[in-house]
Amino acid sequence: MSIDKKTVEYMAHLARINLGDKELEKLSTQLDSILDFIDTLKKVSIEGVPPTSHALPINNVLREDSLAASLPAEKTFSNAPSRKNNFFTVPKVIE
């Protein structure tokens, strides 16, 4: 599996990361070797191993539907870059 610069560019866009040309070059080589490493996992025989989607062998961790305290406004907004009254504010985006 190989990963080209274009793919890295696309992923960077999806992740909203700005990468320069040099970084793109560097990352595509690095990602390539990471994928190579993962490819070796494909060689492991997994016959008889049931598929899994979670690392922990536990399930049904659930909570009762009972109220817990929400945050007070000063905590909610303490790290907000911008706020108006009790709203977070963001640049206008309409999709």
Binding site: L14, L62, D65, A68, S70, A73, T76, N86, V93
Partner: protein, 477 residues
């Protein structure tokens, strides 16, 4: 060219849990902005979601009521995208192992029942709310993390009317389960529609558009009708349909392209590592199944069998659970074996009273025994249908019984032939022209004379007897 319309609907349903899907914040509607948020639903680093047991139960309930197969193993996935209403930059949803698949509901249409497939019902969390200002947007995260079900239909729907009836049926079923407010105005029920056209007889599907911003069932119907017209014109003119999302604009009654930037969405789904898998045992499924109420369709069938109602009448009666049990109470209390009269009252006079008062049928608070008493007066021909309607209005307004009102206003019908004959004689004398008309075979003339007698009696004459008396006099004269 003639085209076949292919429609699939996606319904998002907010579940009526006290707290959010993955944290203990309240789901109460209408609170101060951002007053029902915590580190989990705001996506603060280090916080961990734990799924709400009741949300799971409600999900299983809905899935079973829609005849879906519950999956033994189900898990959550992250759906990744950037948007300000999504504080974590991903929505917890379900991808390849949804809660349930392969269901169906039976929708009653004018031309008979139709089965619409349900592709899947899966669980996810709601996003926040954006309020756009002139040059910035305000974000309220109170809604973020409220448990949702996404109910996806198969592309089995063939017309806007079918889509409408599907939604009405679905809403009725969910209301019976009491797991959601189903209020489109508050956004607890939302619907998107996929629609494509294909030349009649073609198997391959045409290119579909996705319609959003549908704020009522009527908007769904209107938007689909518009889109059929738009796509038909495009295809007839040789214009290719673009696969795109279009917004319904209520004001101009048109769908408008959203013109999203390059390429399809790439959500990069992957398993949510913060939430372990969920196993649903057969025992659990049986337990929920046995807790399901009788659903509208079963109730409708039972009403046709037990009370001899038509599918149409029964269908209207069962739409709401409270009204259906009120109607059943009345039918049980009704002395005659034929319950059609009760259904007529429900779907006629009672329904117009309810509509006029913006109430449900059971909300009119007319006790079953009192309604049956009123119907009894009509059955015995002691009052006319018209008078009965007036009495009903009075019953609702004053909470008096039919008997009291009829006595107080002396509304009992005059069926005494002697008394009515007197009036008839008078009317015949006063209307020689109508009498002549009747003799030349004009039936309208008789109806006119009946009306005159009715008027003279202050509406209290029994119209049937009046007609007989008049006929007798006219033909013997």
């Amino acid at each position: 060219m003639s085209y076949e319309v292919v429609i699939g609907l996606e319904v998002h349903l907010q579940l009526k849990t006290r707290t959010k899907a993955f944290c203990g914040c309240s789901t109460e509607f209408g609170a101060e902005p951002n007053s029902q948020v915590c580190p989990v639903c705001l996506g603060f680093p280090g916080s961990l979601p734990v799924f709400n047991l009741t949300a799971l139960d409600y999900g299983i309930k809905v899935a079973l009521a829609l005849n879906c197969t519950i999956q033994e193993h189900t898990k959550f996935d992250r759906k990744n995208y950037f948007y300000p209403d999504l504080p974590k930059a991903y929505q917890i949803s379900q991808y390849d192992l949804p809660l349930s698949k392969n269901g169906h509901i039976d929708v009653e249409l004018k031309q008979g029942p139709k089965r619409v497939g349900i592709t899947r019902v899966h669980m996810e969390e709601d996003a926040g709310k954006l309020i756009h200002q002139d040059d910035y947007s305000c974000v309220d995260y109170n809604r973020t993390g409220i448990p949702l079900l996404e109910i996806v239909s198969e592309p089995d729907i063939r017309s806007p009317e079918e889509a409408y009836q599907y939604l009405v049926t679905l809403k009725s079923i969910i209301a019976y389960l009491d797991v959601s407010d189903c209020d489109m105005e508050k956004g607890s029920l939302r619907c998107d529609a996929n629609i494509s056209l294909r030349p009649a007889g073609q198997i391959e599907l045409g290119t579909k558009t996705e319609l959003k911003n549908l704020n009522s069932f009527k908007a769904v119907k209107d938007a689909l009708n518009f889109e059929i017209m738009r796509q038909t014109q495009a295809l007839d003119g040789g214009v290719k349909i673009l696969q795109e999302t279009r917004l319904w604009d209520e004001k101009v009654q048109q769908t408008i392209s959203m013109r999203t930037k390059e390429g399809a969405q790439d959500y990069r789904y992957f398993p949510e590592p913060d939430l372990p898998e969920i196993k649903i045992t057969q025992e659990k499924i049986n337990e929920v199944k046995s807790s399901l109420p009788e659903l509208p369709h079963e109730k409708m069938l039972r009403f046709t069998k037990e009370y001899g109602l038509s599918v149409y009448d029964a269908g209207i009666l069962v739409y709401s659970k409270a009204d259906a049990s009120y109607a059943e109470e009345c039918m049980k209390a009704y002395f005659s074996k034929d319950k059609k009269a009760v259904a007529n009252w429900f779907n006629g006079a009672l329904l117009s009273e309810a509509n006029a008062r913006n109430s449900s049928l059971s909300g009119l608070k007319v006790a079953a025994a009192n309604l049956i008493e009123l119907i009894g007066y009509v059955d015995r021909e002691e009052i006319s249908n018209l008078t009965a309607k007036v009495v009903l209005t009075e019953m609702i307004d004053t909470k008096k019984t039919a008997g009291t009102i009829i006595k107080e206003k002396s509304l009992i019908q005059i069926s005494d032939t002697g008394a009515l004959d007197k009036i008839a004689r008078q009317i015949i004398e006063e209307n020689p022209k109508s009498v002549a008309d009747f003799k030349t075979g004009k039936n309208n003339a008789l109806m006119f004379l009946v009306g005159q007698v009715m008027r003279k009696s202050g509406g209290k004459a029994n119209p049937k007897v009046v007609q007989e008396v008049l006929k007798g006099r006219l033909t013997n004269a």
